[in-house]
Symmetry: C2
Subunit: 332 residues, 2 copies
């Protein structure tokens, strides 16, 4: 069914202070649109929500076995991580196994996404390097893919480099979308991000959740990535992050991934479906609120105790002195 | 004239990635609504945009003279400052003059609003205290008001404390709004924030810009606060902040103040008017974009070289490697 966009209200002192509009789609692994809210045909940049698809070619070509990547290392290929010490150490181990170094990365450098990790780093008299970039795990996978393809890694972030061309071809098959004339842009980490309809993004993750109609190699690769992330949810994001917390709560039944500007995807094997959504104004707080509501809507949360999920269904807002000021609630 | 809401587009790779809706009003000092966009009658929390009004009673009662506050110190009473060393030192000086201490504050403690100031603080092995709270200047003014009123400062953030009652009475006169039954909430810093229509918020700042119909004492207080902030714009916000940069560019012709959840006000003496706006989803990036467009709209920016303002009219978005990815543009 087609519905109007979803709405998230941010309240304060009993009235609505701010409001967000969100479009969303639920797609089956056979490509059926089961439910939709808002305009799902206009183009959306998936941003980091698509990272598992960017890692897929590397895994499918046997990258994990070739470089003896651990479950944590496979998981962080799909991550927007917090730059906490465990994340940085994991990516460093991957570089060691790839016989590569931090200077081979082309993702750029930023302070850890988790600001407290930045304060801790600075407190040790250190500054961040490219390992702290929230995309460094993805970029380790891209360096690995260059090796599997037998090409120099230099320029691997450029759209015409064999690494990105291989990734685009794999994504095009999963999303069933032709990127030939699609708008694209360097993402935050300089690798390309291609725009596509939300439905095609959802379709890719429905097939990822339930890959039985894909080739044997791709089925195995999807399962390897899915299992690694849901078993190692800390590597996918980190302390205090919705992806990590919610994947822990949902006990391997759902693969979750955020993307910049309010994108979120959920892949749900036992229902052979995926949820894809985008907050029109880019707010992550609204994307998380709607994701919780839609996970409830499809029934995958029914095994979780209500009191655990209540804090995600109605997020309590507190000020610096821990006084309650309002809430974030999806109006679904 | 009444218009539909303003729209801000955030683009990436040539298409719109995210979009914001903003309501705004331009009000004259005599209360005439000169122009409006969107629903200006629903209630809005002004948040920190109203800080000059919260400081008004203290200044009007002679607080600046009594405690020999400098121009910088008067300015920071109206600030949401970055917590940079200059801000912290200024507030410490105010506490010294008030014979008060950091523990008298009831605003709570947070890491500096400017994250780089937090890294620097941590690099020195320090943690933030209440002086770093972006509202600490306002709270110094509130401690001063308690002294002027001859009441103990303890509990000065509570809605029924004489300090907040005096502030509410002054704001009610300036906004011409009865807060008796208005929704309210503790703000981020625990002092109350009362909701009101956007027009009443704009009216207060139009009268602040052009106070000739107010009492002599209030006229003088408005002028004292206006002059201090526009002459010391660094104290109002800090490095890299729109308020500070734009007040410098506009050379004392406009008083600007941001509030949380996408609120902005501008007071413009030579036009005897004010602009008040609120981004419906709370995004500051959109509020800033619309403020630039409306400052252009009223003609107050015509003396500024086009190339200086162009970067505010169309904000270029760059990634971690400084590659251009898109822009933020108001569709006014």
């Amino acid at each position: 069914m087609q519905h109007t966009p979803l709405s998230v209200q941010v309240t304060r002192g009993g009235i609505v202070e701010s409001v967000h509009s969100i479009k969303a789609v639920i797609v089956s692994s056979t490509g059926e649109v089961l439910d939709s809210w808002g305009d799902i045909d206009s183009l959306v940049y998936p941003r980091s929500a698509i990272k598992a698809m960017q890692a897929l070619a590397f895994i499918e070509m046997g990258g994990a076995e070739r470089f003896a990547f651990s479950e944590e290392e496979i998981a962080i290929c799909c991550a927007s991580h917090n730059g906490e010490p465990e994340h940085v150490a994991t990516v460093q181990s991957m570089l060691d196994k790839l016989a590569a170094s931090e200077t081979d990365f082309e993702c750029g450098c930023h302070w850890p996404m988790r600001v407290e990790a930045g304060y801790a780093l600075s407190g040790e008299g250190k500054k961040p390097n490219q390992l702290h970039n929230n995309c460094s795990g993805k970029h380790a996978g891209m360096l690995g893919l260059a090796k599997l393809l037998g090409v120099p890694s230099q320029g691997y972030i450029e759209i015409d480099h064999p690494v990105q061309q291989k990734i685009a071809a794999t994504m095009a098959e999963m999303c069933e979308y032709d990127y030939g004339s699609a708008p694209w842009s360097p993402d935050g980490c300089s690798a390309p991000t291609w725009a596509m309809p939300l439905t095609n993004l959802g379709l890719a993750f429905a097939k990822f959740a339930s890959p039985e109609n894909l080739s044997a190699a791709r089925q195995k690769a999807c399962k390897t990535l899915y299992d690694a992330v849901v078993k190692q949810p800390f590597m996918a994001a980190g302390t205090g992050r919705y992806c990590t917390d919610m994947m822990r709560i949902l006990q391997q039944r759902v693969f979750l991934k955020v993307g910049a500007e309010g994108v979120y995807i959920a892949a749900i094997p036992e229902l052979k479906m995926a949820i894809a959504l985008k907050c029109e104004d880019g707010a992550v707080r609204a994307a998380e609120s709607v994701m919780t509501a839609l996970l409830d809507h499809v029934g995958i949360t029914s095994f979780v105790a209500d009191d655990i999920l209540q804090e995600y269904r109605s997020v309590t807002l507190k000020n610096w002195e821990q006084r309650t000021t309002g809430a974030i609630v999806c109006q679904a």
